[in-house]
C-alpha cells in the first residue's frame, strides 16, 4: 500500500500549481505537458492513468482554472479510441482545441436515447450544455447512423452549425449546439468507449471539486482567523469551529473517494462505474456542504461577486450538475451494488 504520488506526478502537480498561480493560457498548459498527461503512451501521451488525471484536475480546481481541459481530455480520449492519432497529437501540442457534444436536451443526465443522426455525411440534431464549444476548432459529435452510435467530427464554424453560448456556472462557457445537416467526418467509436471516457470525466470533475474545496477551506480558515466581531476573531466561536472541523473531515472523505475512483478507473466496467458513482455522489454532497458552509461562515462578504469566493462557490455547485448529480449516481450505485 502506498498513498504517495510518484515523483513525476508530484513534479507535474507542483509546476502546474506554480504556473496556474501566475495565470496560464492554453499554450502554456500544452508546454507544461498537462494535455499530454491526459493520454497514455499508447495514445501518444505520457500519462492517462486515474492518478495522472486526479492530480491534474485537482490543481486546475484549486486554481479555479476555467480553460476547457476536461473537454479536451474527453473528446481527445474518444478520438484516441477511434484511432485518430494525428488529431490526438495536435491536441497534446495545444494546436487543436476540441470538445465532445454528446448530451441532448430532455435526457437530464442520461446518455440516451439520443436523436442526433447522420445522413449521407451530414449530422442533424441538438446538443446541450457543451463546454468549450465557443473556442473549439473541432466538435466531436455523438450521433446515430442506421441506429448505431458513432462519433463524428464537425467544424463549429462550418455550415449548418449554430452555437448559443452563455457563461457557465463553473466559470467557463457553455453552448447549445444546433446541427442542421452539418458536414461530418465519421470516426467510428462505441457506447462502451463513451462510457469509459465519461468515467474519466467524472473523475476529472470530482478531482477538480476536491481542489476547489481545498481552496474554499483555506479561504474560510483565513477569514475565520482575521475577521473580528465582538472583539475576537470569529474563528474563536465554537459554533463555527465545529462546523469548520466537519468541513475538514468531509473534505478528507472526498479525497479518499477520489482516490478510490482513480484507482479503479480502468477496472472492468461495472466496478469502474460503481466507484464513479460512489465518488460522484459523495463529492457532490461534500462540494454542496463546503460551498454553503464557506458562504455562511464568511457572512455577507461571501455574497458579493467581488470577493474571490464567489466563483469558487459557484464552481462547487456546478460540479453537482455535471455528468450526473448526487441522485443520478446514487440510483446507479444502488443498481451496480445490488
Amino acid at each position: 500500500m502506498d498513498f504517495n504520488h510518484t515523483e513525476e506526478r508530484r513534479m507535474l502537480a507542483d509546476s502546474l500549481r506554480r504556473t496556474l498561480e501566475r495565470g496560464a493560457d492554453w499554450a502554456k498548459l500544452a508546454e507544461l505537458g498537462v494535455l499530454g498527461a491526459l493520454f497514455t503512451e499508447d495514445e501518444g501521451g505520457f500519462g492517462g492513468s486515474g492518478f495522472d488525471l486526479a492530480v491534474i484536475y485537482e490543481e486546475l480546481g484549486r486554481a479555479g482554472c476555467t480553460l476547457p481541459v476536461l473537454e479536451a481530455g474527453l473528446a481527445g480520449g474518444l478520438l484516441a479510441d477511434c484511432g485518430q492519432s494525428d488529431l490526438v497529437e495536435q491536441i497534446i501540442a495545444g494546436e487543436l482545441r476540441t470538445t465532445l457534444a454528446y448530451a441532448e436536451p430532455g435526457l437530464r443526465y442520461d446518455l440516451g436515447p439520443i436523436t442526433t443522426s447522420v445522413n449521407s455525411g451530414a449530422v442533424s440534431g441538438r446538443k446541450t450544455v457543451v463546454g468549450g464549444a465557443d473556442t473549439a476548432d473541432l466538435l466531436v459529435v455523438s450521433a446515430l447512423q442506421d441506429g448505431a452510435l458513432g462519433f463524428h467530427g464537425v467544424d463549429p464554424k462550418g455550415p449548418g452549425v449554430t452555437l448559443h453560448t452563455t457563461p457557465s456556472l463553473d466559470g467557463g462557457m457553455v453552448s447549445e449546439v444546433t446541427l442542421d445537416a452539418a458536414p461530418a467526418t465519421p470516426y467510428g467509436g462505441t457506447q462502451a468507449q463513451l462510457e469509459q471516457r465519461l468515467a474519466a470525466a467524472t473523475l476529472a470533475v470530482c478531482a477538480d471539486a476536491l481542489g476547489t474545496m481545498d481552496t474554499a477551506k483555506a479561504m474560510t480558515l483565513d477569514y475565520l482567523r482575521t475577521r473580528t466581531q465582538f472583539g475576537v476573531p470569529i474563528g474563536k466561536f465554537q459554533a463555527l469551529q465545529h462546523r469548520m472541523a466537519d468541513v475538514a473531515i468531509e473534505i478528507e472523505m472526498a479525497r479518499s473517494a477520489v482516490i478510490n475512483l482513480a484507482g479503479n478507473l480502468h477496472a472492468e466496467a461495472r466496478e469502474r462505474d460503481r466507484h464513479a458513482s460512489a465518488a460522484k455522489n459523495l463529492v457532490g454532497r461534500t462540494a454542496h456542504l463546503v460551498a454553503e458552509e464557506a458562504i455562511q461562515m464568511h457572512g455577507g462578504i461571501a455574497m458579493t461577486e467581488e470577493y474571490a469566493l464567489a466563483p469558487i462557490s459557484r464552481r462547487l455547485i456546478a460540479a453537482g450538475h455535471r455528468f450526473g448529480d448526487e441522485d443520478w449516481h446514487l440510483e446507479r450505485f444502488i443498481r451496480l451494488s445490488a
Binding site: A103, P105, G106, L107, R108, Y109, D110, T128, V129, H164, T166, P167, S168, L169, D170, V174, E176, Q229, F230, G231, F237, A239, L240, H288, E292, I295, Q296, G299, G300, A302, M303, T304, E305, E306, A310, S313, R314, I317, A318, G320, H321, R322, D325, E326, D327, L330, E331
Partner: protein, 397 residues
Amino acid sequence: MDLNYTDEERAFQDEVRRFMKDNVPADAAAKIAAGKSLGKADMDLWHSRLNDKGWLAGAWPKAFGGQEWSAVQKHIFEEETAFHNAPRIVPFGVGMLAPVLQAFGSKEQQDYYLPRILSGEDWWCQGYSEPGAGSDLASLKTRAVRDGDHFIVNGQKTWTTLGQYANKIFCLVRTDPAAKQQQGISFLLIDMDTPGIEVRPIILIDGVHEVNEVWFTDVKVPVENLVGEENKGWTYAKYLLTHERTGIAGVGFANAGLASLKRIARTELHHGRPLIEDPLFAARLARIEIDLMAMATTNLRVVAGADAGAAPGAESSMLKVKGSIIRQQINDLARRAVGPWAVPFVSEDMDETNLYHPGPDYAAKASNTYLNNRKISIYGGSNEVQRGIITKAILGL
C-alpha cells in the same frame, strides 16, 4: 385547539384574495414567478395600489391612518402576497422606519415623513451595517459630530439594500465615542441628496445589483433629523428588531416556492418519466413539504401568541432559523430539479447582448435564485446569532 381561521379572518382572507386577483400587476407577477428582479417602477406601482386600498399601512396603528391589522391578518396578507406572486411591500420605510417614528419620532417628523412613505415620495434604505460592524452592530464607527444646528457625518455604511433607488437613508451613527458601545449611538434620518454622500453598487454572487456601499464625507445633517434622544439610537433599533415580525419565517414564500418546485418536477423528465415520480427526488420533496407543514403551524402558534399579547422575542429567532433553512432547501431542490439547465448562468446585469438562457423559462433563474437566497440565513441577524439568542433567552444556557 382549533386550527381554523375565525369567520372574520376568513372573510379578510377572501377580501385579500379578491384584491390580489384584480390588482397584482401581471408583468411584476411574471417577473417574480421567473425569479427576476423587480425595478423601482414595479414596486412603486404596487405600493400605490395598496395605498389606494389603505393596505400599504395595514399594519400601522389607526392613529397614523393604518388598519391595525392583527398578527393573523398580517400573516394572511403575507401568505396571499406570496401566493399571487405579488411584489413584497418594500420594508424599509413602511415596516422599519415607520414603527420607530410612530413610537419615538417627534410630531413634526411623524407628520412630515409618514405620509411621504405612503405616497412613495420617499424611498428609504437602511443604513445600519458597516464593513467592520455586521453581527456586532454595536461596534459601528460612522461618526456624527454636533456642529451648531447640524451633525457632521463621516463614515461608511454597507449592504444597503436597494439604496440605488432611495432618496433617504435612516442610519445608526456614533455620537458619543466615549460611552459604552451601545450607549453612544443615535438614530439619524439623512437625505441622500446631501453633498458628501456617495453610493457605490455591490454586485451579488448571482450577478445582480441589489445592495450598495454608502460613503459619507462631511455630510451636514440638520439636528431636527435626529429621531428621539441623542445616544438612544440603539434602543430604537432594538425596538425594531424585537417588534413583532410575523413575516420572518417566510412561510408564504416557502409555500409559493414549493408550488413552483412541484410544477418544475412535473415537467422535467427523469429516464423519460416526470421527475416527481423519481423516488429519490420525491423523497427530497416530501421531507421539505413535511417540514413546511410543521413550520406553518409553528409560525401560527407564535403569531397567535403575539395577538394574545405575548411579545414574540426569542421565538422569532426560531422562526428565522428554521424558516430560512426551509426556503433555502426549496431553492436548492429547484436548482437540482432543473438538472443540467442549472449550468448555463445568465444574470441580469449581463443582459446586454443576446444572452438568453437556453432552457425552459422555469430553469433560467434556478441557480441565480439559489445563490441569491443564501443571503437569508446571513442578513437580519445571521442564523448563528439567532441560535445564540435562543440558547440564552429561551434555553437559559
